[in-house]
Symmetry: C2
């Protein structure tokens, strides 16, 4: 206890702890030998003083050392991984994983469940009839050897320190701290064992990070850890003011992902998938440059190879692969209605991501408490984006609900979330910014 | 839990919590409804962001509201209280309490026990045969009505929040934080109910605060709280590079306090007592100005009235009052030896307060763990101060020990603590600086 107090004291004074100290601290997190109140004080001191790149890397390594790590050296293809800081309607993993597997990479995407206004990746996958996100390690390895991909829940054996630390951060207002965020994300990526890592860092009204500067700071911390740990790492920054794509809700998002993989879907989802995928290809040495990578990814989409890989993935994990060809096999909501523009129409001033998520939550697509089930079928499909011109009475969104009452609650929230202007509104900023990490 | 998280979050962002919020937070400290880890995070956020005067006052009041408060309005004389930030050899309360009672004030001094290299005020008092520091409240009130003073242990009924918060600060490296120190000190003063408060804030190598600036900052926080709570409050800053007075050890310090009360003793102890006492007199309206107050205090000392009041106090609390006239009745150590100057003598470069305290601890005068007993008889009596010229073989200190072995351990520490120079050394900075509070 006294020793830990000394570490807290030094961090409080602004000093950096060294690798041995942070490894010991992380070990005590897992073995329970340090009381939560000392960890809480240390976490707040980290929020206060920050961590330089070396200390952040040391913390991340200390966290990784608390659990098992995956080793893919026996595999015949390069391994990639991806993390997104998240956003409403983000179903990129569902497109990217089979696409890159079709391109010859190995891609095991582990996701957490967590709370959320809308379901997480695991909830989306579980809307596919029969699909399981829980695979024993050996079965997962065999699947990856065979089809190059898996989409599973975060293994409790990897980075056990992260769970306890995150739970404590959640109740001590220490979530919002770049080195703690970065070490939490990257510890799981390092333990996952992939040689190349792409990071989707979003910023703006629809994202966790509100400004581009915050996103750049986090991206720098992330790629710093990746490079320091000898992983080829790149972060792609993208502005996000509204939901990603059009669909918000579990099965609705799976359907949009399938559409995108087959060449349809909203262009912004494909654009982001292509951006992340092409960087992953180059990092993994599977393409000589970005244009070549993009060409290959588009060919895999257009040939149906990517969609076929998704079928194989769904089948391997117990799901009904026919949903790829026949998305109407996905669960569907019994009550549908359109949310239409009131008054004289005009231009879409704003589509507030949080407001749309609130509407989806009101429909039952997300959860307020960890143990609550989600409704796979319900959600919102937007028909407009910021800057679109709309006529009076034009549909702005389709609501997929259990019943009229839930739909009415969603309408109430969409009325706030989607606002109109009498004058033209510019379309939101687009474009990516790349933060590349140097391998140490 | 969520509500507390919101308060932590706001403090983390640098906002001030309001009086209602801090009162609620303090209440949860006592009723145990908030987990230690959330309090720990909040404490570290306070260290980070600080508190302005209004928030510090609100916290202090919130702490006071968790327990009982004393009310002296039925008393026929003004009430005073005093707090010292502490230092090795500080026995000022033992002199000041009977002195101000003799001057017609009511003075209840409550002290904590705590850990320490040397005994605390309670340990010193308990070296007087029969003396008890535990008085039931009604008996204490009757005693104060009769003789105007009491010297007792801190009541557990006053400010119960302080105990839990202090224990948590101790293990989370959040002790060293001005608003937390100030609210801890002043909450107990406010609950004690005195109308005038003098604060002895020491700084320097022998004190808790290392620099005058730190001491000024703490003093400003303390008098800010006092004034805000409608108490006439003054802080007296004094430099402290060596122990206060000459004696370090429980009965030895009582004897020095008695000597001082009777007109003897080391001049620096009387000087500090007179300074604190005269300000207390003026604050309490018992003297028109400082020179008048000083004259009255000196007269009370010289007439024997102050010493007589100490006799009455000792008798009222079960002790043997004859120790005042016959200090040889105090416990005495069986083994005495002198620590003498080595080499050719020279000038005293430094008398390190902590080193002298270490010597006293080695003799058994203090405690390393809370439940350990202290030896009332043992200790060190210095014969020199910084700047003194000493000849070869001249005694630098007298050691009062249980035996030769303990004395040898003390000598080893004194050899480090008292260092000599070949060249003249200036005497330490002296003089007081007053920080006065405005009553709101």
């Amino acid at each position: 206890v006294t020793e830990i107090r000394g570490l807290i004291e030094r961090k409080k004074r602004g000093e950096a702890l060294d690798a041995d100290e942070l490894r010991a601290l992380c070990r005590t997190v897992v073995d329970g030998s340090v009381p939560d109140y000392q960890l809480a004080a240390w976490l707040m001191a980290v929020c206060w003083r920050g961590m330089d790149a070396a200390e952040t890397l040391a913390l991340t390594r200390g966290m990784v050392a608390t659990g098992a790590t995956l080793d893919w050296r026996d595999l015949d293809r390069p391994t990639v991984d991806k993390h997104s800081t998240g956003g409403v309607g983000d179903k990129t993993s569902l497109v990217l994983v089979p696409l890159l597997a079709a391109a010859g990479l190995a891609f095991v995407k582990m996701s957490g469940r967590g709370l959320g206004h809308t379901g997480g990746t695991l909830d989306k996958l579980e809307s596919i009839p029969g699909f399981t996100v829980t695979l024993p390690l050996e079965r997962m390895r065999a699947q990856v050897r065979r089809i190059g991909c898996a989409l599973v829940g975060q293994s409790a054996e990897l980075v056990p320190a992260d769970g306890r630390l995150y739970a404590l951060r959640d109740v001590t207002a220490t979530v919002d701290c770049v080195p703690l965020i970065a070490s939490s994300i990257m510890s799981k990526k390092l333990a996952g064992g992939a040689g190349a890592i792409v990071l989707d860092v979003k910023w703006g009204a629809g994202a966790f990070m509100q400004s581009a500067d915050e996103a750049r700071e986090l991206a720098a911390a992330l790629v710093g850890i990746g490079g320091g740990a000898d992983r080829r790492t790149r972060a792609i920054l993208s502005p996000m003011s509204e939901p990603l794509g059009r669909a918000v809700g579990n099965a609705l998002e799976v359907r949009e992902a399938i559409d995108t993989l087959r060449g349809g879907g909203p262009p912004e989802l494909w654009t982001l998938t292509r951006e992340l995928g092409s960087h992953a290809m180059v990092l993994a040495g599977a393409a000589p440059d970005l244009p070549a990578a993009v060409g290959r990814l588009e060919a895999l989409r257009d040939s149906g190879a990517a969609a076929a890989r998704l079928e194989a993935l769904i089948e391997a994990q117990g799901g009904d692969p026919r949903v790829v060809e026949e998305p109407e096999r996905l669960p569907a909501a019994p009550h549908r209605e359109l949310f239409t523009a009131e008054g004289d129409g005009g231009w879409i001033r704003r589509v507030d991501a949080r407001g749309v998520a609130d509407a989806a939550l009101a429909l039952g697509a997300g959860r307020r408490i960890k143990t609550a089930p989600v409704d796979p079928a319900v959600g919102v499909v937007l028909r407009v984006r910021t800057g679109d011109r709309v006529a009076a009475g034009q549909p702005l969104a389709a609501i997929h609900a259990r019943g009229a009452e839930a739909a009415a609650a969603a309408v109430e929230r969409l009325r706030v979330a989607i606002s109109l202007s009498d004058e033209p509104v510019p379309t939101p900023e687009a474009g990516f910014e790349i933060v590349a990490g140097a391998v140490a």
